[in-house]
């Protein structure tokens, strides 16, 4: 199979314009004749559903949540980037583009990233018009801040609740379309299979989580906006129910999974405390603007009260190693540095896996009131969880799994290799390369949903023609429905001895230890033995109480963990084959003498997209070369 990225020819800055001009259009009267299924109502899915509905298509939106407003996007704190240059500090579309490509360690597609930077400015306009209460200056204009890894202030925010406000904006647009009848909303419905007819995506099988009823839905095209797969690690900053099932089952129907090993470990999370823990809490990295990160220089000081450790005995390791970026060094670099100092035995807190994030200097410089105004809610969260007052003692933080850059492979139109299957937001692999910059996921989700997909899906729809979708009586729907029923029954029938959660914890542990912040061949090979063995045990020994025909949360989780047990293996396989270090993927064998990541552009300047070959068969690794026409690949240095 050849992966056709379908990037338009011509100069970078004109590609998107040109694409829109060359795209086929669907005339307004025909739009009504097309039905589109959108799975997911996070930033990507809600904005896409609302916009497609507004354009006149008939949309069915599915979410497993009890309301579209509860998608994981709601939890994003820090902000959203846009190249508005409202601060007149030298920002531009080109700079945002360049920063994103460089931040992604030259493993993203140039053309996609440039388009993302271009439409970023429209996103802010759109959201402000919807009533998103962005932070403002006294003059009434929008406020900005600088955010992880950027030297300009281009991040727009709404207190510490940017994701919530952007999602509520998209959700309100969705509500309007639901009221007008153009979008039909199915809440508490989980997609469990993708239906292909003659190789095209033409429908889904969903389970009503309240009644257990399984139903078939057909459409002219299917859009997955189902979020990331980071919960494969069990402990993460994701919402507990985030999962990979939608994209994984699409993968098993033939959609290629690109760069699964690109996972982001966020440097500023509250450290793990006990094995009962269900999730890890992110402390927004905006804190790094005013907080200084340090550990004691000497191991012996680690047990001391931080305020008793004098200045000269502290190692502000990021400032030391990366003088120009200091505490704002990108996420992958900050996380790895934290791991290094803890591996050296200089970590703090009970577990020894923690570093200090200290606000004493800022409080002295700005006053406590100003610090409270900027970060009050984050300090409150910290207090709530740890029972500590960060105005008086430094916070303790440690990296945690936070985001997945990998996802289903898509072309420039955001269509996967399965015709008619589109993938948006964190679920696709498209724009962040091997590492995502802060405040860029919200941007990408909304870019995909509001501005990209509505302009590209018409290419596919026009090519198949209106009114051609097969009905749900088609044999392919029956086959997919039987598949879903089979999985459910198998799970309920296995009356084993272990809980679903115990398997999830064990899988997470294997991945964190063998495929976390630092990866090497020996560990990865070990994980590739441990995971299949665990999966085998799962199917023999899992215990799923309850029934099929009503709300059964154990059953829901069992299905998701069953998929994670397969996702985890692909993640390790991809990490093993990518014998270079890039962005969030750090292979210990591939580093410079000073410990910095060593990329191998000669052999790995490509996207690796895996194609499923059937149960217990090794998937095939396809390659899409990354061609840089505009920027020169350089060693990514933040020194």
């Amino acid at each position: 199979m050849k992966l056709e990225s379908k990037i338009p020819s011509g100069p970078l800055a004109q590609k998107w314009d040109k694409a829109r001009f060359q795209n086929k259009l669907v005339n307004p009267a025909n739009k009504r004749k097309y039905e589109i299924i959108v799975v997911g109502a996070g930033l990507a899915g809600a904005s896409a559903s609302a916009t497609l509905g507004e354009l006149g298509y008939k949309v069915k939106n599915f979410v497993y949540h009890d309301s579209p407003r509860r998608a994981h996007s709601i939890a994003a704190q820090g902000g959203i980037n846009a190249a508005k240059n409202y601060q007149n500090d030298g920002d531009s579309v080109y700079r945002l583009f360049y920063d994103t490509v460089k931040g992604g360690d030259f493993r993203a597609r140039e053309a996609n990233v440039y388009r993302l930077a271009q439409v970023s400015v429209n996103i802010i306009d759109q959201c402000a018009a919807q009533g998103v209460p962005f932070a403002r200056e006294y003059g009434g204009l929008l406020d900005n801040r600088s955010f992880g890894g950027a030297q300009v202030s281009r991040t727009f925010y709404a207190r510490g609740q940017t994701g919530q406000q952007l999602l509520l904006g998209a959700y309100s647009a969705l509500c309007k379309e639901i009221a007008s009848g153009s979008v039909q909303s199915f809440t508490h419905h989980e997609m469990l299979d993708l239906v292909l007819v003659d190789g095209h995506a033409k429908g889904v099988i969903v389970r009503n989580l309240l009644t257990g009823a399984i139903s078939r839905h057909c459409a002219d095209a299917v859009v997955l906006a189902t979020g990331g797969y980071g919960n494969v690690f069990n402990l993460s900053t994701y919402a507990r129910n985030s999962n990979a099932t939608a994209i994984w089952r699409a993968y098993k129907r033939g959609a290629c999974f690109a760069n699964p090993c690109y996972t982001q470990i966020h440097p500023t999370c509250i450290p793990v405390t006990g094995d009962y823990q269900s999730k890890l809490t992110l402390m927004s990295e905006s804190l790094r603007n005013d907080g200084r990160i340090w550990v004691p220089k000497k191991k012996e000081d680690c047990g001391k009260h931080p305020n008793d450790i004098p200045e000269e005995a502290r190692d502000y390791y990021l400032e030391r190693k990366y003088p120009s970026f200091g505490n704002l060094a990108p996420r992958d670099i900050s996380s790895r540095s934290a791991k290094e100092v803890c591996d050296e035995g200089r970590g703090v807190g009970e577990s020894g896996r923690g570093v200090y994030l200290d606000f004493a200097d800022s409080i002295q410089r700005l006053g406590e009131a100003k610090v409270r105004e900027r970060y009050g809610n984050l300090f409150d969260i910290y207090h709530e969880i740890t029972n500590e007052n960060a105005y008086q003692v430094p916070m303790r933080i440690y990296p945690a799994v936070h985001y997945t850059m990998g996802g289903l492979w898509v072309d420039y139109d955001l269509m996967s290799n399965i015709p008619g299957l589109f993938v948006l937001g964190e679920a696709n692999f498209s724009d962040h390369g091997a590492n995502r910059l802060g405040a860029s996921a919200l941007m990408q989700g909304l870019a995909d949903g509001y501005f990209v997909l509505p302009n590209t899906i018409c290419n596919y729809l026009a090519s198949v023609g209106p009114g051609k979708r097969p009905g749900v009586e088609h044999e392919a729907f029956k086959e997919a429905e039987d598949n879903v029923r089979g999985i459910t029954q198998r799970l309920l029938a296995s009356q084993g001895k272990r809980t679903v959660d115990s398997f999830h914890k064990e899988l997470g542990h294997i991945l964190w230890e063998h495929c976390g912040m630092g990866r090497n061949e020996t560990d990865l090979k070990k994980a590739l033995q441990l995971i299949p063995a665990l999966r085998e045990e799962f199917w023999k020994n899992v215990k799923v109480p309850g029934e099929e025909d009503n709300l059964n949360q154990s059953l829901e989780r069992a299905g998701r963990v069953a998929d994670f047990l397969e996702v985890g293996e692909l993640l390790c396989l991809d990490a093993l084959e990518r014998a270079e270090s890039c962005g969030g993927h750090f292979r210990e064998e591939h580093q410079y003498p000073d410990g910095e990541a060593r990329r191998d552009d000669e052999n790995f300047a490509h996207v690796a997209a895996w194609e499923y070959q059937g149960r217990d068969k090794k998937p095939v690794r396809h390659v899409e070369p990354l061609v840089y026409e505009e920027v020169k690949m350089t060693t990514r240095s933040y020194k």
Binding site: A50, T51, E54, H65, D66, S67, P68, R69, R70, H72, I74, A75, Y86, N122, I124, D125, Q126, C127, A128, A129, Q130, G131, P133, A135, R136, G140, L142, R159, Q161, Q164, Q165, S172, A173, C175, K176, I178, A179, S185, L210, A239, R240, N241, T273, G274, Y276, Q277, K279, T281, I381, E384, F451, P454, T499, D501, K543, P545, G546, L551, Q553, S554
Partner: protein, 252 residues
């Protein structure tokens, strides 16, 4: 520490429910309340019993999914936090803790502690938006908004839609929820064209969905995990009055 739980168990919407007593194993005081339920559920599963169904997702107080009445109070003992932000250190060793679902007519119980809150979506669909076509917006800085108004709009917008306000209200009114959205959009210049239409429609939808009348007792504000202020209800009432004077509103 160990506690005893009196938990509401109900098979489905139609079945009758009952309280059942469970003893927890030894707990860490730094566990969250929901982590404590996870531990209890693991035990139940191993014993071959069905675990307690409860709703949750973000576990950090922002998605509005968690919804437990703990010892008679929606979202538990503390002000300004959601259930998922409640920690076991708020309880004493040996306590008997009563755990129930939201109880309000518009929120039918689905199972055990889980209810549906689609009625809140219905209110939003009636007018909780500003009509703006994608791509049609002017430059975001072309309409300055005073910081005071933007901040106040943000205070209102902080609502997480959990429905605790409804659960706390003796009339099961959704006034605080509705008022928060009406106020957020009404405070912004972009929200003006649809302002009165919006309030009228949303209040009507609230009635239609079976929510009760607001008698401003303030029980909603007291349980709101985001401390949404009763002042917004006054704002809604003012707008509603104007909308009625402009004609057509059936409330009055």
């Amino acid at each position: 520490m160990k506690v005893k739980l009196k938990v509401w168990r109900q098979k489905d919407t139609r079945s009758a429910g009952e309280f059942r007593l469970y003893e927890t194993p030894d707990l860490n005081v730094n566990m969250s309340f929901l982590e404590m339920l996870d531990v209890v559920n693991e035990q139940l599963t191993l014993k071959g019993e069905e675990p307690i169904a409860f709703d949750h997702d973000c576990r950090e107080g922002i998605c509005g999914t968690c919804s437990l009445v703990i010892n008679g109070k929606p979202h538990g003992p503390h002000r300004g936090v959601a259930t998922c932000q409640t920690y076991m250190r708020s309880f004493q060793d040996g306590d008997i803790i009563i755990v129930e679902p939201w109880r309000a007519r518009p929120f039918p119980v689905v199972k055990d502690l889980v209810v549906t809150r689609q009625a809140l979506d219905k209110i939003m669909q009636a007018g909780g938006y500003i009509s703006v076509r994608t791509g049609a917006a002017p430059d975001a800085n072309s309409i300055p908004i005073s910081k005071e108004n933007a901040d106040l709009a943000m205070d209102a917008a902080a609502c997480i839609g959990c429905g605790a306000c409804v659960a706390a209200c003796k009339n099961a009114s959704a006034m605080l929820f509705t008022a928060a959205k009406v106020s957020q959009l009404g405070l912004l210049p972009q929200g003006q064209p649809e302002r009165y239409r919006r309030v009228k429609r949303m209040v009507e939808a609230m009635d239609e969905a079976g929510f009760g009348a607001c008698t401003v007792t303030g029980s909603c504000e007291a349980v709101c995990p985001k401390n949404i202020s009763l002042d917004f209800i006054a704002r809604l009432n003012r707008d509603y009055l104007v909308a009625s004077l402009k004609g057509g509103a059936k409330h009055g």
